[in-house]
């Protein structure tokens, strides 16, 4: 079997860092593999991928020990542009990948770099457009495309050069679920139709574990596990359950005693696999929902009265919105991409003015408050934590928010100490926020947002690109805040996360409110906004959303 790429005892330090990003990593990659790389942020997934096309070390600098061989070339002596013949890499951020202004030129860019003739470029560009379903956007300006479309263009641009090894570094983490699915479907088509090896770094294992032939798990720079999905799942049960899809976790708990089949199909990764397994064995039954640590909902924190929002008075985005949010309550705000969730949330503190109706924040009309005054009571964190970082150290960031809100003296000291302890930032206080990894940045952004102890906290898509570990931490924070009497609103597409943390769900649709009620009711039986477990068991056990609400008849193993 011909090896496409090989790493031998690779250890790598980014310039100026004491700790290596990769430690003694060795692995071999062959043709026609589909590999999933998982690991929390900062674990070295991205570094590993970049080793394979020469960006590490030639672009990033630093120190490299060990040997990386790709397509017969040693990356020590071969530059990135030589390796680009065999390797293609799609990056995470759709907006920071493109160089040209129109789609066709962008796709042609890689081909031009390789000196391909004009006629061949025309053909390859055409084919790449067709392959990824982008023909109608051929002349479109990149500035007008959505994130999902931009990622498809990036993929087309890389695929046009027909690399043997296609690397994708968290390509869906900045995308909404629908675009993510489209991109993953395109990747799957590529894996099936071409002989390329595909290496995909991705957090949401439930979307792709069933598509891959091999899983690599990285932790803190070490390649901890390297196996096919079933064996990986078996390994992950011991201490890394968060990496597995909910149905796998559910079935892992089923007692295996009477099912000693020689051809044990293993743990299911998708709802379809799980259905097949369900048929043959005893039915599970639900157990008591674990007592949630919610405080009993207190007074009204925010009330919307017949709110109409949008940019055009004749065509409002949403209208007739009337709801109230209480203290001690966790609410998820869901809806299709672009329906107006983020816009709505801006109205809570007066960043946008409604077309009609009003918003009452703690009893006061937001329209009569300044944004700064409203921000004192309701902290809103936007989708991009980087937007907040204006200072050179974490400590100064927190101080900046407190300054802006006019908090001084003893109260300031105690709030600062409090938030640092709560979000575990003591070690990071003197670091530059922009030097931190993704998970750390989100923590710092959260700290800078909620340090002033607001009554209400709104988080807009906080789990984008977040690994399982950090999601669990965030969920714990949310529960803590709710127990302390805050009202927490989560604008999110991540149904699994929402189901684990909120009690109430509001769904927005075209023109207004589609649903508003307990999570168990709204998410149950939903066509789109539903959890894996619910999709599996909705007929047998209506209203059940999470696998920890279920126990097996024969007892858990």
């Amino acid at each position: 079997m011909a090896t496409l790429a090989r790493l031998s005892d690779v250890t790598y330090w980014y310039p100026g860092r004491g700790q290596p990003a990769l430690r003694d990593v060795s692995l071999e990659i062959g043709p026609a593999e589909v590999i999933l790389v998982v690991g929390s942020s900062g674990s070295g997934k991205s570094t590993l991928l970049r080793c394979l096309n020469g960006l590490v070390p030639h672009f990033h600098g630093g120190t490299l020990a060990g040997r990386v061989e790709v397509d017969g070339k040693d990356t020590r002596t071969s530059h990135t542009h030589e390796l680009a013949h065999a390797v293609g890499l799609v990056f995470q951020d759709p907006e920071s990948q493109s160089v040209m202004t129109t789609v066709e030129r962008e796709i042609a860019f890689g081909l031009e770099n390789r000196g391909v003739t004009s006629a061949a470029i025309s053909r390859l560009v055409e084919e790449a457009l067709i392959l990824l379903g982008l023909s109608h956007l051929r002349h479109a300006s990149l500035a007008t495309l959505s994130g999902g479309e931009l990622q498809k263009v990036a993929l087309a641009s890389v695929v046009a050069t027909q690399p043997q090894l296609l690397l994708l570094d968290e390509p869906t983490s900045q995308l909404d679920p629908v675009s993510s699915e489209e991109l993953l479907a395109a990747i799957r088509r590529l894996s099936e139709d071409t002989g390329s090896t595909i290496m995909l770094a991705e957090h949401r294992t439930e979307r792709c574990l069933h598509l891959v032939t091999r899983v690599l798990y990285m932790n803190d720079g070490v390649l901890v596990a390297d196996a096919d999905p079933q064996r990986f799942a078996d390994w992950a049960l011991d201490g890394h359950r968060g990496l597995l899809p909910p149905v796998a976790r559910l079935f892992a708990r089923r007692a295996r005693g009477h099912s000693a089949d020689a051809d044990d199909p293993g743990l299911p990764m998708t709802v379809k696999d799980a259905h097949r397994l369900l048929v043959a064995h005893e039915d599970p039954k639900p157990r008591h929902r674990p007592a949630t640590s919610q405080g009993s909902p207190g007074g009204i924190a925010l009330e919307a009265r017949k709110l109409a929002i949008g940019y055009d008075p004749d065509e409002p985005l949403l209208e007739g919105l009337s709801f109230s949010l209480a203290r001690g309550e966790a609410v998820a705000l869901m809806g299709e991409n672009g329906v107006g969730k983020s816009t709505l949330v801006r109205h809570f503190i007066g960043l946008a003015r409604p077309l009609a109706g009003k918003v009452m924040l703690l009893g006061r009309d937001v329209g009569e408050l300044t944004v700064a005054a409203a921000a004192r009571d309701c902290a809103v964190m936007g989708q991009n934590p980087n937007d907040l970082f204006v200072k050179d150290t974490v400590a100064e960031e927190i101080a900046f928010t407190l300054d802006a809100l006019g908090i001084t003296g003893e109260q300031r000291a105690s709030l600062t100490a409090g938030i640092v302890a709560e979000l575990d930032l003591a070690a990071l206080l003197q670091r530059n926020p922009r030097d931190l990894s993704g998970g750390e940045r989100t923590r710092v952004a959260l700290a800078a947002t909620v340090c002033a102890d607001p009554t209400m906290v709104v988080l807009d898509e906080p789990t984008r690109g977040m690994d399982a570990l950090h999601k669990a931490e965030l969920a714990a924070s949310v529960r803590r805040w709710v127990a302390a009497g805050r009202c927490v609103v989560l604008v999110t597409h991540d149904v699994e996360f929402a189901a684990s943390v909120v009690e109430r769900v509001i769904v927005l649709g075209d023109r207004g409110l589609l649903a508003d009620g307990p999570a168990a009711d709204v998410l149950d039986g939903s066509l789109f906004f539903s959890t894996q477990i619910n999709r599996l068991l909705r007929r047998a056990l209506p209203g059940v959303l999470r696998e920890d609400e279920i126990e097996w008849a024969g007892g858990d193993s």
């Binding site: 096309n53 960006l55 030639h58 672009f59 530059h79 990135t80 542009h81 030589e82 680009a84 013949h85 293609g88 990056f91 951020d93 907006e95 920071s96 493109s98 160089v99 040209m100 202004t101 129109t102 066709e104 030129r105 860019f109 890689g110 081909l111 031009e112 770099n113 390789r114 000196g115 004009s118 470029i121 025309s122 300006s141 500035a143 990036a154 890389v158 050069t161 801006r346 503190i349 960043l351 944004v371 700064a372 921000a375 902290a379 809103v380 964190m381 936007g382 991009n384 980087n386 937007d387 907040l388 970082f389 204006v390 200072k391 900046f400 802006a404 809100l405 922009r434 947002t449 002033a452």
Partner: protein
């Protein structure tokens, strides 16, 4: 009020290239042909001084604009042009003293300001000239898509064209980043619009810091993406996917070159110089000059060729 220094006329970069079939007039030509022709018109606008010649040129430019369907879009440019032209038409007669025929004497404070016919003519002529130049550039901006402009620039110097293309790609991204950063900071309690000018600028400095750092991070990501796609190799090719040269393109370009030659030749032969002082030269006699006739005829031909009465795609 705009001045010539800040003559900024905002125009939306068109999201989709106008499809070939919907193009009219000059816009149907190849970018290279368009540039040659508009270049010749601009050259004329810069060289000509005789008011009659300038007026004819201006009329031609306007006609080409209208036939190409960009008449309405040109209005902001014309407004700027009229403002600047108006300034020149008023100020120049007041400050020029070399004219021989005095119309009347103005008394501005301690100053005697003689208004002469020659001064007024000079003022009007310079106004027309600047309007013609701005109109020629309006033609360039409106008939040529930004992407075509970029493509042409990259033909001249690949790296420079790349930098410009990349900057154009990033500009809307950064604008959106700026808006988002402003909102994020406001949501944090930062007061951006309170106080005097200096306070408002000071409040925005942290935002500028964030935007600066963010932009440079994006630049690093883009550079990585470029290298990952093979940038940096020696033998780079250029994808020319424009359509072939048609007869109309050739005619336009040839006429443009001929006009340019006639204009430059006439310039160096002194055929295009025109004196306002102390007495006005006879403007009509220059219209018979061979250089002028050749240049103007060459400029008119492509315009006629692009009139919609021709059925063929050329």
């Amino acid at each position: 009020m705009p001045t010539f220094r800040t003559a900024a006329v905002e125009r939306r970069a068109s999201p989709k290239r106008r499809s070939e079939a919907s193009r009219r007039g000059l816009a149907r030509r190849r970018p290279a042909a368009i540039v040659a022709y508009v270049g010749a018109l601009t050259l004329a606008a810069l060289i000509l001084i005789n008011p009659l010649q300038v007026t004819l040129l201006l009329a031609l430019c306007l006609a080409v604009l209208i036939v190409a369907g960009r008449g309405r879009a040109a209005w902001p440019y014309l407004k700027t042009a009229l403002y600047i032209g108006g300034f020149l038409a008023i100020v120049n007669p007041l400050i020029s003293r070399s004219g021989a025929t005095v119309l009347w004497q103005l008394q501005l404070g301690p100053f005697h300001v003689p208004i002469t016919i020659q001064g007024v003519a000079y003022g009007v002529a310079t106004a027309l000239r600047i309007i013609a130049v701005i109109t020629a550039f309006a033609l360039f901006n409106l008939v040529l898509d930004p992407d075509d402009q970029l493509g042409l620039m990259s033909r001249l110097s690949f790296r420079t064209g790349l930098v410009i293309s990349l900057a154009c790609r990033l500009l809307p991204v950064f604008s959106r980043d700026a808006a988002r950063i402003s909102n994020a900071q406001r949501a944090r309690g930062v007061e951006l619009d309170a106080g005097r000018r200096r306070a408002r600028v000071a409040a925005r400095v942290p935002l500028l810091a964030a935007l600066l750092a963010q932009s440079l991070e994006r630049a690093v990501d883009v550079a990585a993406s470029m290298e990952a796609r093979g940038f940096g190799a020696r033998d780079r090719s250029h994808w020319s996917h424009e359509r072939r040269w048609r007869l109309a393109d050739l005619v336009t370009t040839a006429a443009a070159l001929l006009a340019a030659a006639a204009l430059l030749g006439g310039l160096f032969a002194g055929a295009f110089s025109y004196n306002f002082y102390p007495l006005l030269d006879d403007p009509w006699s220059q219209l018979a000059s061979l250089w002028w006739v050749l240049a103007f005829a060459a400029l008119v031909v492509p315009a006629l060729w692009s009139l919609p009465w021709r059925r063929s795609p050329g």
